[in-house]
Subunit: 420 residues, 2 copies
């Protein structure tokens, strides 16, 4: 089947895919397993923070009124009637002239409205009773962290779709979320095509190479927060390939095939799409690498036909698949974070189409530089290993020079953005 392929602009291709996105589901998991998962609901304060008036210091709590006449030459004396640590609860209501020895974080006793640090108090015994004196006046509320001063009960704290990091996890624990409602990870299936592919544990054979794309894509899928399911590689034969893909579609939310989408004589994917009845959103994009990227919609599932070329496959995943995964994880910023950077190397190639160049970011004196991760051919194999960003060079431009400003899509940023 030879067909005419009309390349569409990257932006348009991304919008086509976006229009076929699906809403994600949620599930409950233990707080112990929630790291890097995406919140499936807004987190609301189930109680005020702090939940009681508390002491910011180790010291003495008492009524500020008692220090009204205190001064350098007029120490005011208190009986120390109780001694409480953090987590211990004061039991004595303080009367005039009484103080409670209190530890950082402990609850302020009834009858007290201020705390004096140890350093400004003198402690001693008198008639076998613990005493304390202070030579300064205190104000009502002084050194007291008031109930609810940090958070009121019911306050919205963290939005659905936020990735759970150490700070979010601390919040979840604070508010008693022992089970956490998170976005269910979409299952992304992967099928490799191509008789030239060997499994990773097979010895090298003439004319063949090991299937590295499946492993690369697995890692990209996991990095994007989804679950990976591998269906093996297809032989270049139509019927078994069709059956494998049809079966896989029933077990996944998203299906990726690598290879088999160019116009090479042995590429089967176009015919398989046709037999599935999948509607092809596009099969050529005005970009390098990855121009042969094909995306099709089959019922409520998306099929991504990524190029067999490793760089094209990598870029195709990040541009087209990642936003769909992040959307189903409730992210409000599903696209790769795009920043401006200063190119730190020359890139002399002209760019007839939008070009995505592997690069890594360096920070120099408060400015962001983009260095090429693989200018030379000899770096092709290792360049993806060092890649932390994709430099996006607009189509219709000549080469770029060191010092030029360029746009870079960040691959490792926990932050994304609303639109491409």
């Amino acid at each position: 089947m030879v067909e005419i392929r009309k390349p569409i602009p990257v932006q348009e291709a991304i919008e086509h895919v976006w229009n076929h996105r699906h809403q994600g589901c949620t599930e409950y998991i233990s707080i112990n397993d929630c790291d890097n998962r995406s919140l499936g609901e807004n987190i609301v304060a189930s109680h005020a923070v702090p939940p009681f008036n508390k002491s910011p210091y180790d010291g003495f709590a008492f009524s500020s009124e008692d220090t009204l006449h205190a001064g350098l030459n007029n120490p005011v004396e208190f009986d120390v009637v109780e001694h409480i640590g953090a987590g211990q609860v004061p039991t004595i209501r303080l009367e005039q002239g009484q103080a409670t020895r209190i530890m950082t974080g402990a609850k302020i006793p009834e009858g007290a409205d201020c705390v004096a640090m140890f350093e400004v108090c003198k402690t001693y015994e008198k008639n076998n009773m613990a005493c304390m004196s202070i030579k300064r006046t205190m104000k009502a509320g002084q050194n007291i962290i008031e109930e609810g001063s940090e958070v009121s009960e019911g306050e919205k704290l963290i939005k659905r779709g936020t990735l759970i990091n150490p700070g979010v996890k601390a919040l979840l624990a604070t508010f008693g979320y022992s089970e956490v409602k998170v976005a269910k990870k979409p299952v992304v299936g992967v099928i490799a095509t191509g008789t030239e592919l060997l499994d990773v544990n097979e010895p090298l054979q003439p004319g063949k190479i090991r299937n590295s794309n499946a492993y690369m894509i697995e890692s990209q899928i996991l990095r994007a927060g989804a679950e990976y399911k591998y269906f093996g590689k297809l032989a270049d034969e139509f019927e078994p390939s069709y059956q494998t893909i049809k079966q896989a579609l029933e077990e996944v939310d998203i299906l990726i095939t690598t290879g088999g989408v160019s116009v090479g004589d042995f590429d089967l994917m176009p015919a398989i799409y046709e037999k599935l009845g999948a509607s092809i959103l596009f099969n050529k994009v005005a970009m390098r690498p990855g121009s042969v990227t094909t995306v099709a919609s089959n019922g409520n599932k998306l099929l991504f036909g990524l190029s067999g070329n490793p760089s094209a496959c990598y870029v195709g995943f990040e541009l087209f698949v990642r936003p769909i995964i992040h959307h189903s994880l409730f992210s409000k910023t599903p696209y790769l974070k795009r920043i401006n950077a200063t190119l730190a190397d020359d890139f002399p190639k002209p760019n007839p189409f939008t070009r995505f160049v592997r690069n890594y970011i360096t920070y120099e004196n408060g400015k962001i530089s983009a260095r090429l991760a693989g200018v030379d051919k000899s770096n092709v194999v290792t360049s993806l290993a060092h890649t932390t960003g994709l430099m996006m060079l607009p189509g219709g431009t000549r080469g770029f020079k060191s010092g030029d400003e360029v746009e870079v899509l960040l691959l490792n940023s926990s932050e994304g953005q609303l639109e491409f």
Copy 2:
């Protein structure tokens, strides 16, 4: 036990800890499970890449000599004697006037030294034989990706200590690393102290708060690439606390306690260190928050006594524990990446000691801005959730203003640096 504590500078504290680092171990794991693990050995090319001369295009392979007299008015004709896809192996050695139809990535047949793309060839049949003609001269080596042109056999590709990302995983697959030698994750034990602490699933009680630090630290430990082991919380009683810590030390590589290190009356940790015979590296650091951070060495294990205050605990982990974990993962850049940024908010507080301020990074026009994640008290609870960096303000400075240049330690960067 009341003791005089002498604060030491942050830099010195970090060096003390560093001097007690230990070498990590390695283990073999399946390539399927290697994401985000740290390489336990250098990765070396087990074969040349490509492993054979291959075609970059769909086209025809033949000997360039045959086109010596080709020209616009002098097409040269070839018999197409074989047709191979990628992964298929050419079986026919080409003679003069013969060509092989070849697909992208396929091995160049013997007798051929160039490839012409389909687009520049005319294909037709003659006497029921497939033929092809071309109207231009070709050079030896033209459109041929030479064996070993990307990587030579034995070439060192990726260094031990590199984190396995999608590009590294692709490399591992390419070279047949079905089992990958990785750094064994150090086991980091965590013990919380403080009778005020409730478990996450307990209802709130007067004077008590839920133990959020243990969950936060768990998340930080996992983010740093180590394994987490929780030993529960200690009551504020000496003997059982001592026994728990002694036992825990036998099961972990690194032990963290949270709380119990300040001079509060109920803080037991100093006495426990003494009974263990642990040598205290320092117990006060000239920094905020986290001045009471204590680190002790017990045999070949480090004990980190972090503050019970969540911010201080967070900062103490990142400054002191993280580099030790990363070192045992063979990282050559175990310290947090430090960059310059422009402060985008006012920070009016004076800084008698080195201060670490929770912030997040924004990128504006190629410049890096640091915004405060929690200026107001009301943000204390959620500020750690939004924190992506720690702004480091030198001791002895007054407040800072929007527009000032500051140094920021990046918390989410896969990149680190050699020294603090």
